[in-house]
């Protein structure tokens, strides 16, 4: 079946603008995760959703970052007043249920460039 879908695949924005990144998880997956991969860095955890609630948002770097999930499905990551250091690949993953018994299925990511 279809995997995790992220859009857009690439986004170039000017510093100070807001951006929205979208993630469509695999149908039926209850857990959804956002990660960020910067050049030369590993994957940095941002936020985790179980259903529509976010029990762990400890990785959001600042209050310019927010995320929501609706209908237990699609999630949107919003970055307000973008800065150059926000440039990275933003990855979304979903899993059938929470817990490490269910592997994470990753999307192809959104490459964000802030100029």
């Amino acid at each position: 079946g279809a995997g995790v879908s992220q859009s857009p695949s690439n986004k170039v924005t000017e510093k100070g603008k807001d951006v929205e990144l979208r993630c469509d998880p695999i149908s039926g997956h209850t857990a959804l995760y956002w990660y960020r991969q910067s050049l030369g860095q590993g994957l940095e955890f941002l936020i985790y959703f179980q259903g529509n609630s976010a029990p762990d948002k400890s990785g959001l770097p600042s209050d310019r970052f927010s995320a929501e999930r609706t209908g237990g499905s699609v999630s949107t990551l919003t970055i307000q007043r973008t800065q150059q250091e926000d440039s990275a690949v933003y990855l979304c993953a979903s899993s059938l249920e929470r817990g490490n018994n269910s592997p994470l299925h990753f999307g192809n990511g959104t490459r964000l460039t802030v100029t």
Binding site: Y33, G42, L43, F45, E97, R98, L104, F106, G107
Partner: protein
Amino acid sequence: AQSVSQHNHHVILSEAASLELGCNYSYGGTVNLFWYVQYPGQHLQLLHKYLSGDPLVKGIKGFEAEFIKSKFSFNLRKPSVQWSDTAEYFCAVGSGNTGKLIFGQGTTLQVKP
């Protein structure tokens, strides 16, 4: 706090050479350990996982991974690499409750034909 350290950032090997990628983690409790791989142009995908039981995990594409609790390590090995193994490899640790994983910085493996 959990952390993961991968020893090598960039490894270049010739085909048929043996591979070992080091991974050490820092966490005091029970951990679950993973290796994910990202082939060029593809998304990250699970290569190996250790949740419990036999600390030597074997299987996919000739790779094996060994959990050594006393060394806080989960190294990835392959006796003879192929050009198609060229990819970026990420080690990750999870504590099991939420499914959240903490990833290492990644190791880029380049296999020369």
